[in-house]
Symmetry: C2
Subunit: 417 residues, 2 copies
Amino acid sequence: MTDSDNLDLSRRRLLGAVGAAGAAGLVAGAAGGAGISAALSDDTAGAGGAPALSTVGSTAVMFHGKHQAGITTPLQSRGHLVAFDLAPGAGRKEAAALLRRWSATAKVLMAGKAPAEDTGIALDAGPSSLTVTFGFGRTFFDRTGLASRRPAELDPLPAFSADALDPRRSEGDLWVQIGADDALVAFHALRAVQKDAGDAARVRWQMNGFNRSAGATAKPMTARNLMGQVDGTGNPKPTDPDFDRRIFVPAGGAQEWMAGGSYAVVRRIRMLLDDWEKLPLDRQEKVIGRRKSDGAPLTGGSETTELALDKLGPDGKPVIPDNAHSRISAPEQNGGAAMLRRPFSFHDGIGPDGTPDAGLLFVCWQADPLRGFVPVQRKLDRGDALSAFIRHEASGLFAVPGGPAEGEYVGQRLLEA
Amino acid sequence: MTDSDNLDLSRRRLLGAVGAAGAAGLVAGAAGGAGISAALSDDTAGAGGAPALSTVGSTAVMFHGKHQAGITTPLQSRGHLVAFDLAPGAGRKEAAALLRRWSATAKVLMAGKAPAEDTGIALDAGPSSLTVTFGFGRTFFDRTGLASRRPAELDPLPAFSADALDPRRSEGDLWVQIGADDALVAFHALRAVQKDAGDAARVRWQMNGFNRSAGATAKPMTARNLMGQVDGTGNPKPTDPDFDRRIFVPAGGAQEWMAGGSYAVVRRIRMLLDDWEKLPLDRQEKVIGRRKSDGAPLTGGSETTELALDKLGPDGKPVIPDNAHSRISAPEQNGGAAMLRRPFSFHDGIGPDGTPDAGLLFVCWQADPLRGFVPVQRKLDRGDALSAFIRHEASGLFAVPGGPAEGEYVGQRLLEA
Ligand code: HEM
Ligand code: HEM
C-alpha cells in the first residue's frame, strides 16, 4: 500500500454544525490499483433501477502517511492552486497555528466529513478523492525567523529566456494544492482553506484547473492536455526502483524537516491554441515526437514503447526531430533528471487579446529542482519545438514537507523544532 | 422516451482526420431514468482488477428530436456558454451556412465521433452526455433581414432595480450552450464551435460553469449551488401534465418556426460568498425558507414536501418568512408562472475586489419569458431576502428553436422559409 492508496470507507457523511443527519449513506470503495475503483451495492440502485456509480464519490485518500497526499495520488478531475502571503505582523507563531488549523481541516474533509460551521457546499457528496497539499515558498522563512532552516533547494529558479512571468501570480509564502473528483468538493475545500487563513494570511493568487472525469474513458488511460496530446506517458512510476529517491527528499539531508517531502515547481503555461490548431497533424506530431492518436513514439510501437531516438527516416534525418519535446525532455538526454509531472489543465475563458486563456497548470515534483525541472527546462527553453506554441506566464517553487504522522500537523517538524 | 433519454451506444470512437483507430472500445450505457446509468462489461476491468466506471463517458444524448438537447437533459458536470455576434457583412446566407456547420458538428460530437480535422482533445473519451444547444438573440433578426420573424417574446427584459449588468457580457446575436460530463469533451466542443464560426461570427462573451460530478453522491440527488443549498427542488418535472405547455412553444403560434422551441433566460449571478458564509445557519435557512441540510421546507417534511406557506411559528409570524426566496418564487404566488431552472455554477477565481468571482450561471427555460422569468424576477427584485447576497452581472435572452428533424439543421425553419 502506498500512502495515497484508496481507503475503504463506509459511513454516513457527518453534517457537523449543519446538524441533522440527512445525506445518503456512502458506499465502500474497493481499492483499485489504477486509481479508479468501483463498488456496487444494493442501496445504491439508481432511480431507473440501474446500479448507480458510486466510487467517484466514495473514494477517500489518507491524510496521514510518509508523504503528503496529492503527489502520487491519481490525477483528479478538478483542482485549485492557491498561494497565500502571511499577513503583516504574522510570524512563526501565527504560521504554526495556521498549519495546525489547515491540517485539521484537510484531515476532516479528506475523510468526507464536514468541518465545524460548514458552508454545506459538499453535503451529499463523498470524499471524492479529495487531497489538500501544503507547501512553503522561499519568502516564508525570513518572515517567520526561520531563515536558517530554508532549504537551498528553494533558491530562485534561473530566469529562462522565454519566460513572461507575472510576479503577482507567482511564488508566495504558502501554497495549497487542492484536488478532487468533484467540483463542489474541491470548491468546498478551497473555501474552508481560505476561511482558516483568517487574519494570519491573505490570498496572493488562485488558479483553477481540471482533468478528464473519472469514467469518461472506458478504461483508465493516460491524460490528455488541451493540445490534444497524450500527456504523462514518460512519467516515472511509483513502482520504479529509483522512484522514491528521485521524487522524495531522503532522511539525513541538510534540512531534516524535509525528509519524506518533495519540491513542487508550478508553472502557469498558456497554450497558443489558435496557432497550434492551425498546424497540420503531421507537424503537430513532430513537435512532440509522438503520435497524437495514442501517444506512441513516431519511431513506432505503442504508447509505452521507448523512443528510438537514433532512428533515421528515408531522408536521413532523425524520425524524432532534434527539437522534438519528447527528445529534449527525456531523462537520458538530461543526465537522468526526472520529475513527476502532475498537472491540471486550465481554461479561464477568453483573454484580453481575444485568444483562449487556456493551457497547463504544470505542477512537477522532485527531490531536488536542480536535478529535475531546472536542467530540463534550460534545454527546452533553448530548443523545444513546442516553445512557439506556449508561454510561461507564472511560476512558483515550494517546499512540500513529508506527510504528518498521526497527531501531527503538516510542517510541525519545521515550525516547532 | 423523451428526446434527451440516453441512447445506447456501443462502438469505437472514430478518429476522423487524426487517422489510425487507437482508442479503447466504448461500452453500452444502460438507459437510466435518473440520468445516471451504469454498465459493467468484461473488457472494462481496471488495471487493479476492479471493474471500471464506464457510463459517465458512454452515455450519448440524441441530437435530433422534437426539442433540442440540453433543456431536459440531466445537468452535466461541465458547461460552457458562448455568445457570438455576426461579423460585419455577414447576413442571412452566412448565418444559414453557420447553423448548418454547427448542426453537423454537434451531431457528430454528441454521438462521440470526431469531426474532420479534429483537435483530438476528446480522443479516448466517450460522448459523455454532451449536448450542444443553439439560440438566437434579439439582434440577430435585424442583421439577417428577418425582423418580421422575430418573436415578440424576444422583446428586451425589463430593467430590474438590482441589476448591475455588463453589456459586454450580455445578449448577443447567437448563443450556444455546451454541457458534458467531462471537461475535455466540453472544451473540445467549444473549440469546434468556435472554429466553425470562421469568418461569419465572432465571440462576444464566453463563460464556464460546472455542477456536481456524476457519481459524487451515492445515489442521484438534486444539485447544490455554491451557497450550499439544495437547488432545483421546485422545478417542474417532465412528467407533469402541463410541463410541455409551460416549457416549450406550442405549434400554431405567431412564429411557427419556434414550434417545439423554448426561450432561455441567462443571468450571470455573482454570489457574495464572503458575506453569505458569515450568516449563521438559521438565518441562511430563513433566507430561502428551506433547510440547508436536505432542502426540506422549514415547515417540515422532506425535500419534496410542499411548503406550508400559511403556517405560523410560536411568535405568530410565518415560519417561512415573507421575504423568503422559496415563498416569493413559488408558482402559486405568481399566477402559476413556471420555468425550468437548469444552471451551472461558476468560479472564475478571485475578483479585482478580492472576493470570490463565483456564483450561478442561471439558465431558465420557458415557453414565454413574460409568463416565466419576468414576473418572478420582478417580485424577487423587490422583496427577496437573497438579494443582499447576490448580484446580477450579465443577462441574455435567446430564442431556442425546436430540435432538428433527421436531415435538418437547427434554425432551418427560420432561415430557409
Ligand atoms: C504546455 C506545456 C507542455 C506540454 C503541452 C507538454 C507536453 C508533453 C507531451 C505531450 C509529452 C509526451 C508524453 C509524455 O511523456 O508525457 C511530454 C513529455 C515530457 N515533458 Fe512536457 N509538456 C509541456 C511542458 C513541459 C515542461 C515545462 C517540462 C519540464 C521542464 C516538461 C517535461 C517533460 C518531460 C520530462 C517529459 C517526459 C520525457 C520522457 O520521459 O520521455 N514538459 N510533454
Ligand atoms: C444566485 C441566485 C439564486 C439562488 C442561489 C437561488 C436558490 C434557490 C433555492 C435554494 C431554491 C429552493 C429549492 C428549489 O426549489 O430549487 C430556489 C427556488 C426557486 N428559485 Fe431560485 N435562486 C436564485 C435565483 C433565482 C432567480 C433569478 C429566479 C427567477 C427569476 C429564481 C427562481 C426560483 C424558482 C421559480 C424556484 C422554485 C420555487 C418553487 O417552486 O417552490 N431563482 N432558488
